[in-house]
């Protein structure tokens, strides 16, 4: 499955890029599983998701929980809790 990943704020800074297209291996079904896989892709990912519970996720620009399925996702984003206004 090919997917566009986007990173914002300190997640972006730690990973060192704003976005990337990745081919995910079979067997990754949820956001939590995607995070677990990403943490193995290099120390910058491990650091970005070290406190994975504070990282928020969105699939196709909609907020989702870690248990959400990534089936059919075109764009998955990871970012810290928002601080607008």
């Amino acid at each position: 499955m090919r997917v566009k990943l986007m990173y914002f704020a300190w997640v972006r800074e730690k990973i060192g890029r704003a976005e990337e297209e990745l081919e995910l291996p079979a067997g990754i079904a949820t956001v939590a599983e995607l995070i677990d896989w990403l943490k193995q892709q290099g120390p910058q990912y491990a650091e970005a998701f070290r406190r994975a519970e504070v990282v928020r996720a969105a699939i196709n620009q909609t907020h989702v929980q870690p248990s959400a399925s990534i089936a059919g996702a075109a764009e998955i984003a990871f970012f810290p809790p928002v601080t607008g206004g």
Partner: protein, 155 residues
């Protein structure tokens, strides 16, 4: 709803929203500004980052939800992004209604929702030169709680 690097003019935005109308009895305009201090830390400037596409969708969704809950004649959200300095405007929320209670409540709701759901992130540069991402406020989550929003809509 608008994401903008440029400043906004509160009076002009209100006039554009309600000018010529005679069915509006109450307009609430909330302006959020950048302060030179954050919990005692002296701030020199800040950069506001957003998620192009998703931010607009969230703001549009939040605005639609406000119109569903209150009888609003009109509303507007303007949020700035980019580099700002203390005293600068950050966000503008305007709500117009027949009566004041709806306008007040909808404006508060929009701000609470926007603070916790709209994808914006602030990176502050201290007067000491040190840059740091602003942590989300627990009090903003608590403020949102009173509007009884389903958990799956929360960021």
């Amino acid at each position: 709803m608008r994401i903008d690097t440029a400043d906004f003019d509160v009076g002009a935005e209100i006039a554009r929203l309600t000018g010529g109308r005679t069915d509006v009895g109450a307009v609430v305009a909330f302006t959020g500004l950048m302060r030179a201090d954050n919990d005692g830390r002296a701030i020199a400037g800040m950069t506001l980052e957003h998620y192009p596409g998703m931010t607009e969708r969230e703001l549009a969704r939040v605005e639609a939800e406000a119109h569903r809950r209150w009888p609003l004649a009109a509303s507007l959200i303007v949020h700035r992004v980019g580099t700002l300095k203390p005293g600068d405007n950050i966000v503008l929320v305007v709500t117009a209604s027949k009566h004041r209670q709806a306008a007040f409540q909808a404006a508060e709701f929009l701000m609470d929702y926007l603070k916790t759901n709209a994808p914006f992130w602030k990176k502050e540069v201290g007067r000491d030169g040190h840059a740091a991402w602003v942590d989300a406020r627990i009090s903003d989550e608590a403020a949102l709680g009173r509007w009884q929003i389903p958990p799956d809509h929360r960021g």
